[in-house]
């Protein structure tokens, strides 16, 4: 029997992350969820195509769809922002630790050994990748459907400015990335909740309730002082990236708030998980 080589491999964490992503994206439940996310831009595009649009009524992005197919992506993001995308992130992040604890696989991962900080880091990275992938999936589906049904070309922004197609695609992708960061911050809340329980469904529901509660509080004027601190408050600022010039105020605050949430809740998960007795 050979002596175990006792130098960790440098690419080890990359391999573990790949395994984690493969677990997430290979799971039927998650694939079905991604299909649902894709269905929204498809529905939007087909519905607008069939009814011929109709200027004036409906959300902003909707009325512009017939002018430029790229707006299908933005309209779909607007529709999925309050529930579908947060729900997807809640499902993945709530499952992160609680799911492994529930199956009992957590004890075997830790006994491999996977250092607990490393486990949290890899799990959270996978959540971030999922947040970006899910949001990008909505955007790309919207772009493809929009271009197929309505064509592309230059885009007229709400400020009246016209930008070229290339820049328009860039703006849409920027908005996608911005929203992904917001969802990733919700994922940090999710992984924290996931360290509190052995029931992944419970963790997911808790995160969804938390997110919806944030949206609700955000609509109560009497709680206005609280609004700038709500995790969801700046999410809708993604539209600012489609102004000319770009209004950075909301987006900048949103990115900063997301970073704070990620830092606080990641540390909270670490504090909770690092010394926890694993008896599952």
């Amino acid at each position: 029997m050979s002596v175990v080589e006792l130098s960790p491999r440098r690419t080890a964490s990359a391999r573990f992350l790949r395994s984690e992503l493969w677990l997430i994206f290979g799971r039927r439940r998650n694939q079905a969820g991604l299909l649902v996310l894709m269905a929204v831009p498809i529905l939007v595009a087909v519905a607008v195509r069939l009814t011929g649009g109709g200027h004036g009524d409906g959300p902003d992005f909707f009325s512009s769809i017939t002018d430029n197919g790229l707006f299908v992506a933005l309209a779909a993001l607007t529709l999925e922002l309050p529930l579908f995308l947060p729900l997807a992130v809640a499902a993945i992040s709530g499952d992160a630790i609680a799911g492994e604890a529930n199956l009992g696989t957590l004890r075997y991962l830790l006994a491999v050994p996977v250092q607990r900080t490393r486990l949290l880091a890899v799990k959270y990275l996978a959540i971030v990748v999922f947040s970006f992938a899910a949001t990008l999936l909505v955007t790309l589906t919207g772009i493809v459907m929009g271009l197929a049904l309505f064509g592309g070309g230059s885009m007229t922004l709400f400020s009246g400015t016209e930008i070229g197609f290339g820049e328009a695609v860039g703006r849409v992708l920027m908005a996608t990335a911005y929203l992904s960061v917001g969802f990733a911050s919700l994922g940090a809340v999710g992984i924290f909740v996931s360290t509190l329980t052995e029931q992944p469904i419970g963790a997911t529901i808790a995160v969804v309730i938390y997110c919806v509660a944030n949206f609700i509080i955000d609509t109560i004027p009497q709680l206005g002082w609280l609004h700038p601190y709500l995790i969801t408050h700046y999410w809708t600022s993604f539209g600012d990236l489609l102004r000319s010039p770009i209004a950075w105020d909301g987006v900048g605050s949103g990115l900063f708030l997301a970073a704070v949430y990620i830092l606080v809740f990641w540390c909270a998960s670490w504090a909770r998980f690092a010394g926890k007795d694993v008896t599952s």
Binding site: S13, R28, R107, Y108
Partner: protein, 332 residues
Amino acid sequence: MTQSVRLRPDRPSPGPGHGAGTTSDLAIATEGLTKRFGHQTAVDTIALRVPRGAVYGFLGPNGSGKTTTIRMLLSLVTPTAGSIEILGLPMPRGAGRALPRVGSLVEGPAFHPYLSGRANLRRLDAADRYADPATADRRIDAALDRVGLLAAAKKHYRAYSLGMRQRLAIAAALLAPRDLLVLDEPTNGLDPQGTREVRSLISTLATDGTTVLVSSHLLSEVEQVCSHVGVMHVGRLVAQGRAADLRGDGDPRVRVDTAQPEDAARVLREKGLAEVTVGIGRAGGVLGVVPAEEVVAALVHAGVPVQGFVVDRPSLEDLFVSLTGEGFDVSG
């Protein structure tokens, strides 16, 4: 029984304190190890001593603290008090260096149900910082083959029977070369054939030099393969040592059933047996080095009417009953 401790030659050890002191000869050493959950003391100041190369039977009724002890050994649970050394490294500080050399099975198998057996092993291998991805497929197949699961490698885990799940968990423990295996109830759910296979696997691994700690609430399942034994009872380690010593090997008693116990006792004394006792219709004594057949011959020669002659080796089972009370009931 001539089973003795197999001490392996010193191999390059990464730990400090290598080569010196008594703890380096031990694969597992704990001192005053204690775990309390609230008011319940699950494990009470135990001092495990598992020599390198030993097959250590960790025995005790359900709920006696075996699994909690194993969880502490693997740094899954933080001890309330006491210290642990695994392969010469202090835990939990040395866990990152010690545990890659430890394969484990804790409280039954646990895998992702919607992944195949092979995919589950691949996942565990991917989590191991020391595993070489280039050899992963070969090592995984070898481990599956070793537990007889290669044919079912592509099946989803959820379709596995309990025995197959148990085998997969053992395969996971064998993914990399190990210096120490910690197997918690490895024969649970296995049929008699599977139990035999696991026993023979443990023997083979031990012959290769791997130290094995195997826990069980069924003494008979592990007794044959253990060189050492530790017995837990209500959170305490009530006995520990070489199986042969605990069994009282070399100290068999003879029992003579006869109508003339006084005469029989006299003959036994003449033959040099110790602790000779006389009862109603029987006499007995500690055989020592005297061959049993000589005693029988002497009895017959002396005209003692021998109705029965028994050489009694105290079994481990007897020891456990005396240590843990009524056999192997669940302790509260």
